[in-house]
């Protein structure tokens, strides 16, 4: 699905904004000293603050503030010197206090923008409206009992960054590209692990349709529970067609909260939420405004790592890589590091090819993460070096590489042990060429009478005789001379 959908009466444009909840990778919670690790025994990581016990007071975790500022700088956003925590009031069983401490009128991070890379190679800028700090709720589990729900408060109080985009996104591909880039930035900054399976990054999708050319926005629906890149794509595709059908039939869209059902592959209305939007925000009386100095912001700015887009542009400029190769290499920080280590002192383009086509290919096929690769970056660099200085041919290098993956041995050792060193001795190759020509007089005659496509046959024969070790360029050269 592209950015627009063709209806019977008009062409409609999708207008999408995303709200992303990213859990901060802190040890303790936003306002309490209880741990945040995923998968602990139920209710074992809950303090009396998180459980909403009377008289308990929240105390802000300074590390979470730092991570929010860091993330704000990473998404090119303005940092606000003063921000205010508010209470968002609603009733739900996994919210023991009856309110969520969040930031409303005065978020810690204001407007910014990130670049997204589209499948067709285009780059688009998506505006960021804000980033604010807030607590997570607990977890309701509905499938442990036929008539009961089970509540685990371990997640209650964990620190979240809610990152809200401008309605700049058009279509499911752009939404997926935005989420991928945002996740990449968070992982580079190490402020959130970006793990959508464990719920440490979740997205709500706001979607409306309008006729192409219209400048006003249509009525939007908010879709919750969209917890993977695939689900984002599917939920948008479903919801856009649902709204299209209503609008094409002259109906109107009700502004409402809908739930994505990944099993039935549909969005459906959450009627109970109708009243819920009256949150009665007010400043949290337990917390003073958060004030941060410019010197503090500056100090954090100095710790920022090279971000994905900066790295991408550097790879293209310094190493002469294509946009595509650079984009794939920077997708993970560890991958980019591996490449740079392998390319150190060697032909960078060749190193990039080996990382992208050979290494990642085999690792992915065998489900091995890059960190556990049997071949280190330095070892791959050495292999690239052997190709560069003509010690081995590219073809032999593939066999050597397969051997390295299996045994973990260095390329040089394998070449030595197996006697794979490329034959660059003119005399030796000449002898092989002479043998081949003597053994195939018919083909030589045909070649000489004009059947030039036989040239490849001769090359193949010589290479075969040398067990693949002859330098192909020299074989070509000598054959041409002799024929």
């Amino acid at each position: 699905m592209a950015k627009t959908i063709q209806g019977e009466s008009a062409v409609w444009e999708m207008v999408i904004g995303l709200e992303v909840h990213a859990q901060i990778t802190s040890q303790a919670k936003l306002f309490s000293g209880a741990p945040t690790a995923f998968g602990a025994e139920p209710n074992s990581q809950v303090s009396f603050v998180d459980a909403g016990m009377p008289g308990m007071l929240p105390v802000l975790n300074e590390y979470c503030v730092e991570q929010a500022v860091k993330t704000g700088l990473g998404i090119n956003s303005a940092i606000n010197n003063v921000s205010v925590f508010s209470r968002k009031n609603y009733f739900y069983p996994d919210l023991p206090t009856g309110y969520q401490i969040t930031q409303f009128e005065h978020p810690i991070v204001g407007e910014g923008a990130i670049e997204i890379d589209l499948p067709d190679g285009q780059v688009k800028t998506i505006g960021i409206t804000r980033l604010h700090l807030e607590q997570d709720a607990g977890k309701s589990i509905h499938d442990m009992h036929p008539t009961k729900s089970y509540i685990d408060l371990n997640r209650a109080g964990c620190a979240l960054m809610e990152i809200v985009s401008e309605p700049d996104i058009r279509g499911p591909e752009e939404a997926v590209a935005y989420l991928s880039k945002l996740r990449m930035i968070l992982r580079y900054l190490e402020t959130c692990d970006g793990n959508m399976d464990e719920g440490s990054m979740r997205a709500d999708v706001n979607l409306s349709l309008r006729k192409v050319g219209e400048t006003k926005f249509g009525t939007r629906c908010e879709i919750k529970n969209v917890n993977s890149l695939k689900a984002v794509q599917q939920a948008i595709e479903y919801e856009a067609l649902r709204q299209l059908e209503i609008l094409e039939n002259g109906g109107t869209i009700d502004q409402e909260t809908r739930l994505w059902d990944p099993v039935k592959m549909e969005t459906r209305s959450m009627r109970s939420k109708e009243d819920a939007h009256d949150y009665r925000y007010f400043p949290c009386p337990d917390l003073l405004p958060l004030e941060i100095e410019n010197s503090y912001i500056k100090a954090i700015k100095e710790t920022l790592p090279e971000l994905p887009d900066q790295k991408k542009h550097r790879f293209m400029n310094d190493y002469g890589l294509s946009l595509y190769d650079a984009s794939v290499l920077i997708a993970e920080r560890a991958r980019a590091e591996y490449f740079e280590n392998a390319a150190k002192g060697h032909d960078a383009k060749l190193a990039a090819n080996w990382v992208l086509n050979e290494l990642l290919g085999i690792l992915n096929k065998n489900n091995i993460p890059l960190e556990d690769s049997p071949v280190s970056a330095k070892q791959l660099g050495e292999l690239v070096g052997l190709i560069e200085d003509n010690t081995i041919s590219g073809k032999i290098a593939k066999d050597v590489f397969a051997d390295m993956m299996e045994t973990g041995k260095d390329a040089g050792t394998i070449v030595e042990e197996k006697g794979l060193k490329q034959v660059t001795d003119t005399g030796a190759i000449e002898a092989l060429v002479d043998e081949v020509l003597a053994e195939n007089p018919d083909n030589v005659a045909q070649y000489k009478s004009g059947k030039e496509q036989l040239f490849g046959f001769f090359v193949g024969q010589v290479m075969k005789k040398s067990q693949g070790k002859a330098n192909p360029a020299m074989v070509n050269q000598l054959l041409k001379k002799k024929l």
Partner: protein, 93 residues
């Protein structure tokens, strides 16, 4: 303050009021709001909002684990519990 507002606020606060209580609260809340309304007579132009009457900054805490690990206490007031979870009536949509 009218009766409809009282009912709405009661609903948001999950309070189940009798008609008598609604009438009483309508009057009481109107009086309270009227009393507080006097504050609007004060000219607050060019006055910054005051977050606290004491001159202190928001205290911060290090990112250290020093709490939790007492599920039994957390669950002590639970109306019902099983396998370490709070157990409540089904709330799934």
């Amino acid at each position: 303050m009218d009766k409809k507002t009282v009912q709405k606020v009661a609903n948001l606060a999950r309070l189940n009021l009798s008609e008598k209580q609604e009438n009483e609260l309508e009057q009481q809340l109107s009086k309270i709001l009227g009393f507080v309304e006097q504050l609007s007579e004060v000219d607050t132009d060019n006055v910054e909002p005051l977050a606290s009457v004491v001159d202190i900054e928001l205290p911060l805490r290090k990112d250290e684990i020093n709490d939790g690990g007492y599920a039994d206490k957390i669950l002590k007031n639970a109306p019902e519990q099983a396998e370490g979870y709070f157990v409540i009536g089904k709330v799934v949509e």
